[in-house]
């Protein structure tokens, strides 16, 4: 079983739709949760960063973390064609977990296409 599971999609939605992306994980030591966006032939760029459980909103993006269920989500409101990309969830342990705390464990990514 992978530590982080993410539905690879692909997901295709019309412009203006609300998009929901999800990941589940098995390692209860994960404390920091991130969403990265990766355009074709580019490196991942950080979208959202959350510590422990709760919600965080940034413009059209909302990240949710439910540690009791080991489940994280990213919602995109009013989706745009420019949101078309691969979305990667990533997580890592607290720094108290040792010197390798920087290691990110990624899901496999969800390919999203927003069509006009």
């Amino acid at each position: 079983q992978k530590e982080v599971e993410q539905d690879p999609g692909p997901l295709s939605v019309p412009e203006g739709a609300i998009v929901s992306l999800n990941c589940t994980y098995s390692n209860s030591a994960f404390q920091y949760f991130m969403w990265y966006r990766q355009y074709s032939r580019k490196g991942p760029e950080l979208l959202m960063y959350t510590y422990s459980s709760g919600n965080k909103e940034d413009g059209r993006f909302t990240a949710q973390v439910d540690k009791s269920s080991k489940y994280i989500s990213l919602f995109i409101r009013d989706s745009q064609p420019s949101d078309s990309a691969t979305y990667l969830c990533a997580m890592r342990r607290d720094h108290a977990g040792g010197t390798s705390y920087g290691k990110l464990t990624f899901g496999q990514g969800t390919i999203l296409t927003v069509h006009p």
């Binding site: 580019k42 490196g43 950080l46 720094h95 010197t99 390798s100 290691k103 990514g109």
Partner: protein, 114 residues
């Protein structure tokens, strides 16, 4: 602020050949990471440096992969000899030291082993 620089962007080699990738992190970032991203998968950490010391290389195939970070700045990742299954994008990332530890990624080197 300049981002993480990587070169080359693309490389095609035959199996059993050797190849090297170069990374220049964001100025001032003490921590440097090399990830391998196979098509259709998320990045997987190969090695993490703190300044010029190795912090984590538990997932680096040490029989064929090596990496160094001289003077705590630039880094090179080498594969010798390459196998077909090494075809992937090799991503370099860097971060400031600290609990928040946000990692910034370069555009990657796309390796094709024929």
């Amino acid at each position: 602020e300049a981002g993480v620089a990587q070169s080359p962007r693309y490389k095609i080699i035959e199996k059993r050949q050797s190849v090297a990738f170069w990374c220049n992190p964001i100025s001032g970032h003490a921590t440097l990471y090399w990830y391998q991203q196979i098509l259709g998968q998320g990045p997987k950490l190969l090695i993490q440096f703190q300044n010029n010391g190795v912090v984590d290389d538990s997932q680096l195939p040490k029989d064929r992969f090596s990496a160094e970070r001289l003077k705590g700045v630039d880094s090179t990742l080498k594969i010798q000899p390459a196998k077909l299954e090494d075809s992937a994008v090799y991503l370099c990332a860097s971060s400031l030291r600290g609990a928040k530890n946000i990692q910034y990624f370069g555009a990657g080197t796309r390796l094709s082993v024929l």
